[in-house]
Amino acid sequence: MSNLALEAINVSKRFGELRALDRVSLKLAKGGIHALLGENGAGKSTLVKCIVGFYTPDEGEVLLGERQQTIANPRDAHDLGIGMVYQHFTLIPNMTVLENLVLARPHLPAVIDWKKERRAIGERMARMPFQLPLDASVNHLAAGEKQKLEIVKQLLLDVKVLILDEPTSVLTPDEADEVLGRIRDMTRESGLSVLIITHKFREVMTYADDVTVLRRGKHAGSARVSDVDVKGLAEMMVGSEFSQTALAREAVAEQPVKLDIAGLSVEDDSGMSAIHALSLKVKAGEIVGIAGVSGNGQRELVEVLAGQRPSAGGEIRVMGEVYAGRRRDLLRHGFHCLPEEPLRNASVARMSVAENLAFRRFDQAPFSVGGFLRRGAMAVAAARAIVDFKVRPPTPDTPIGDLSGGNVQRAILARELGERQGRPMNVLVVANPCFGLDFTAVAEIHGRIMAARNAGAAVLLVSEDLDEILELSDRIHVMSAGRLVYETTPQAAEPIVIGRHMAGHGGENHVH
């Protein structure tokens, strides 16, 4: 009898020119947690999607127990006892927890006896690692509870192999510990085998038994976690390129307040209050980091600053003058913004890179003369920016929507941070700038943000990545439920304390 729950042998997958997976093998032991570690784009998701039948691998095979299995689609995987929790939620928001759990079952009766279902699921729920209110509507659950519900949904289907794709990305550190801890207990008690995709070393070291590292679609190494350390894993993950150079943080002599937010209140799309009387000052030559779990008002804050959402109260001042987020204000005050998901929030996907780069100044000389656009001038400026910011492919006429995520990010960064021809850069607002980017791109973008700070800009960095906040910020605020609930500095910061504030359990520091 084999002690393997699942084995993938020499799995390869191509997407056009790109070799997403190149003969990768993985052995998942019974009753343990196996971490699949790698940078974004290393092929982790592609590998598990091949295992659960979401993709058909070009070569290689998947063994379950010791038998080779053809898994043509996620339904087959289900029938074989493999369940996967995807990165995006697959719950139905307008339905209750109970309805979602019942709907997940493969064979529903024609008429559903809700009393019976409630009793049956209630009894099994009592033995689950997480308890959830059966009658709550899913759209009223917090992100952490939704994640737990996704896991419970799979466990109720009696899966033997559970695959989790970045399960902690929407959780606070406390919640992540709870979820992973409970899952580890389950592997010990019930023989469940778990494969976790992650890029967080801490989770690998604390919870996993085995680890497999992927790099650029190739198998970079496998080990017992007890036999490796973080440095070894990091080297496996990024190869010889790994070199963490501290960013040069220069002292800035004069530090006038450049961005002053006073009593700002904002409503979300459904008219509910998203930000309550938020006040914040950012000085020249300072990076203020806003940490928090997504969905606590960060998106609304950035949208108000970018002029994409009206405020419901309070005042924003830039360089001492009232700022309303109009195009005129942005230009005059040297206000620059890199919102999250720039393809959606800061560009027009079907317009070319050159046109997108010219958005800020298309109606001014040299891009516009006498009311006519000068496409030649735009193309020349775009070509320079593309070289400066290493945008691939280096063709100004490509629609920006055809670029990869990292290259869209670079292009928009070029627009916001590139040539200004003597115009000042006073304020820079950046939101999740490195989401989905590889190590090299992250280092480069962090360097640009730091350079803007050193040049005297007031930088507001909104990020869900606590490590990024700790690395870049001069001061840190934690945002929770639309309020700034905690302030600290990177030197004094303790991740556990920050995490508790992120979760809204700040104790005596909580501002009411």
Binding site: I92, P93, N94, L103, W114, S270
Partner: protein
């Protein structure tokens, strides 16, 4: 103005009776629209279904001599129009609102064209229950003359609510309406479910049309419908996609529609046209009230995402 206070009672009774009489077509069209929208599609063409249903129902009832066969025929035309709507909407880049408007105009025009010979003949009416036989007050007796289709609708509303809550098919429709992704993950055929929901919704709207020609106001004429099919769309939003609330909202709209005639019956001639406009004013007010985003709870996810 009214001097005798007992006349207020007469008006009230007339409005209640009118709520049922005028509200019945609203009830059927809104239940049909509710069913279709739950699956994630808006069918604005139900006004066309209503008028086609009125024409076909009247024609078939006249030819066969059976009002109930007329009702079935009216429903059948609705199924055909619903099928065309669903078929067009599942093509790439086709907008359901635009298709709905086209079908509304098609249905209306076709009904006027085919209905020319139906203006003269007299078809049998649908039966009514005389629940007011015990009373010697003629106003009350008139108000309590409950038509059979209304009773069908009153049974249908809770049945539909149960269907959405507790049947596999109802859950399938809701899942498709909430999220294409989730529905596909469950192995549901998204377009197939939407087609069936649109056809069934079309059937109900057609039946609503049969009520217009076979009961109240009765007869076939080109001015038979006064936009009930369109107002039912507003009504579904107001009812937050809940069949039981569709029933209450239909009665409310029916009552508003009966206000003008009821006041006229006791001799108030002032503002007759103004009172007749009450349902439309009500529609506007409800749309403004419903545009507040807090009311949007209950909206199917795929509709909310647009």
């Amino acid at each position: 103005m009214i001097e005798d206070p007992s006349q207020w009672l007469t008006v009230l009774i007339a409005v209640l009776g009118g709520a049922i009489r005028v509200g019945t077509p609203f009830l059927f069209v809104s239940l049909g629209e509710c069913l279709t929208e739950k699956s994630g599609r808006i069918n604005l063409g139900l006004e066309g279904n209503l008028i086609m249903g009125a024409m076909a129902g009247y024609g078939v009832a006249w030819i066969t001599g059976s009002a109930w066969l007329g009702v079935l025929a009216a429903g059948a035309t609705g199924v055909v129009l619903g099928f065309i709507h669903a078929l067009l909407c599942q093509q790439a880049r086709v907008n359901d609102i635009a298709v709905g408007i086209a079908l509304m105009i098609l249905g209306t025009g076709l009904a006027f064209f085919l209905g020319k010979p139906l203006i003269q003949p007299s078809a049998p009416h649908l039966p009514a229950l005389h629940l007011g036989a015990w009373s010697d007050n003629p106003a009350l007796r008139a108000a309590l003359e409950i038509n059979a289709l209304f009773i069908v609708g009153v049974i249908l509303a809770p049945a539909m609510a149960w269907f959405f809550r507790s049947s596999r098919w109802g859950l399938a429709i809701r899942t498709v309406g909430e999220s294409d992704q989730a529905a596909r993950a469950m192995g549901l055929n998204v377009n197939g479910v939407r087609m069936l929901a649109t056809m069934a919704g079309g059937f109900l709207a057609g039946v609503g049309g049969a009520f217009l020609s076979l009961y109240y106001p009765g007869g076939w004429s080109e001015g038979l419908s006064s936009g009930q099919g369109l107002m039912a769309v507003a009504l579904v939003i107001f009812a937050r996609w809940d069949p039981m609330r569709c029933l209450y909202a239909s009665l409310l709209f029916g009552g508003a529609g009966a206000l003008g005639p009821s006041l006229q019956s006791v001799g108030v001639t002032w503002g007759y046209y103004l009172f007749n406009a009450a349902p439309y004013v009500l529609t506007l007010i409800l749309m403004i009230a419903a545009s507040s985003k807090k009311v949007r709870s209950g909206m199917p996810g795929t509709l909310a995402a647009r």
